[in-house]
Structure formats: structure tokens, C-alpha cells
Symmetry: C2
Subunit: 115 residues, 2 copies
Amino acid sequence: MRKSRRSPCPVACVLDVIGDKWTLLIIRDLAAGKSQFKEFCASPERIATNILADRLDRLVSHGLVERYASDDHPGREAYRLTLKGRTLLPVLKSIADWGLAHIEGTEARIQVAAP
Amino acid sequence: MRKSRRSPCPVACVLDVIGDKWTLLIIRDLAAGKSQFKEFCASPERIATNILADRLDRLVSHGLVERYASDDHPGREAYRLTLKGRTLLPVLKSIADWGLAHIEGTEARIQVAAP
DNA sequence: GTGGATTGCTTGCATTTTACAAGTGGCGGC
DNA sequence: GCCGCCACTTGTAAAATGCAAGCAATCCAC
């Protein structure tokens, strides 16, 4: 059963997925190559661990992120963007570009990791 | 005095402005030519009036929206995007495009009003 | 110029979400 | 076994949101 959406508007539906202060920051970190829970916690915005766990679950349930067994850190949880999740990167970039152009004091520091 | 930001990351700073479920819907409605309080209320997502008033205030204080005296409806409040506000339209479009491509059941119905 | 409708909010309160701190269970190394 | 790290979960306080009602200022017909 699909939960009822607010409207058929694509903007409203996207906001129901990524319309909060944390989800896109996790996607940013994933795009930058971070994969472990503690790495997301270590980002300068200091997301609370319960919020992080909740957002990761939601991203996985939306098919934007997947868990996998890391080779680099065997036995640890790891997360990465799915192919669908990667399609959000142009959205993320347009947001970052707007911030760089219109909010003073912002600076780009992250590079999107190679596919 | 500027309120402290979470980080100098442009993504985080933009989310502090538009990172919620309502702000971009108001910008969508403004882009579609709506200008009156009641018109935003009438959108299918049914924003609460206190939230709408709060978001309009925040948008005005961020310089993205301005009040003006309407010619069409004299004596009534009216809102419109500022030039800075219009620079958000590419962001809005990238979000709408993503929704159309990746969320089933969404449909584009609004046309951006002419400048 | 008075009554009623409309507009643009504000207020009060219940519900939901978020923030912060602390705690728990699993695993690996020693 | 014991220690520490990691990935969460839980408890609780604070904040944001949702909902309904109310209210002052127009507008408009009559």
C-alpha cells in the first residue's frame, strides 16, 4: 500500500522524499564517497544518530541508497547510492550552485566520487 | 546579526532556506503566477495558514519574495518573486524534472509565468 | 451607512518531528 | 575474557507542524 501523496505535483512528491534539512546532506556525503555511519555523523552539520538512522532507512526504502558489504572495511555496514540515487546528483548540483552564487560565505569543498 | 549556520557548505545553507516541505511549493505557485494569500491556500496540498504566513515572512526576509500593491486586485496584499527569487527557478525545474522522471503518477500542470 | 461576505492573517492547542544524551548489542583484536 | 569501536536504539525535552477558531480590515450591495 502506497501512502497517500499530497498532490500529483512532481515538486510536492519530491519534497516528500528529500524535503527536509538532512536527507540531501546524506546524499551529498554519499556522493563524496562516504559510506559508513560514523562518517555521516562526522560531517560538520552534526546530524543526530537517530535522525541519521531514520533517513538512511527512508532512502533505502525509496531505492535511492543500498547497504552493501564493504571490501575496505569488512564486517562493517556500508551505504552507497543506487543508480536511481545517482540521478539526484544534478538536483544536488543545482542546489549547490545556487548556494555558491547567492549565499555569501559558502564554499565548495567536496568532489563527486567517480562512478 | 547573522544567525549561525550549520556549516559553510552551500547545500546545507540552501537547505536552511528552502529545506522543508512547503517553501518550494510557495515558490512554485509564485512562478505559476499566483500572488494572493488565498491562492496559496487553495493549492491542492492545503498548507495551513499559520505555516503559509511564516514561510512568506521568511521568504520576504531572505529577499526572495516581495509584497507589492496589485493593480489587478487593488487594496489587497500581493506577493511576487524578486529577481533573486527567480534565480531559484532552475533549481525548482531540476526538482520537478526529477519527480516527473522517477516518481510515478506525477504530472506537470503548471507553466512558469512570463517575466 | 449598515450588514454581510471576503481577505489576510493570529491565536490556542493537540500531535508530530527533532535534538540531545545516554545506553545497548555485536564484532574484532589481544 | 576483556576492551574498545561501531551502528544503532531508547528516553525525554524542545521545537515545528497541523487544525480549528477567531478577528480586524476592507469591500460591496443595498
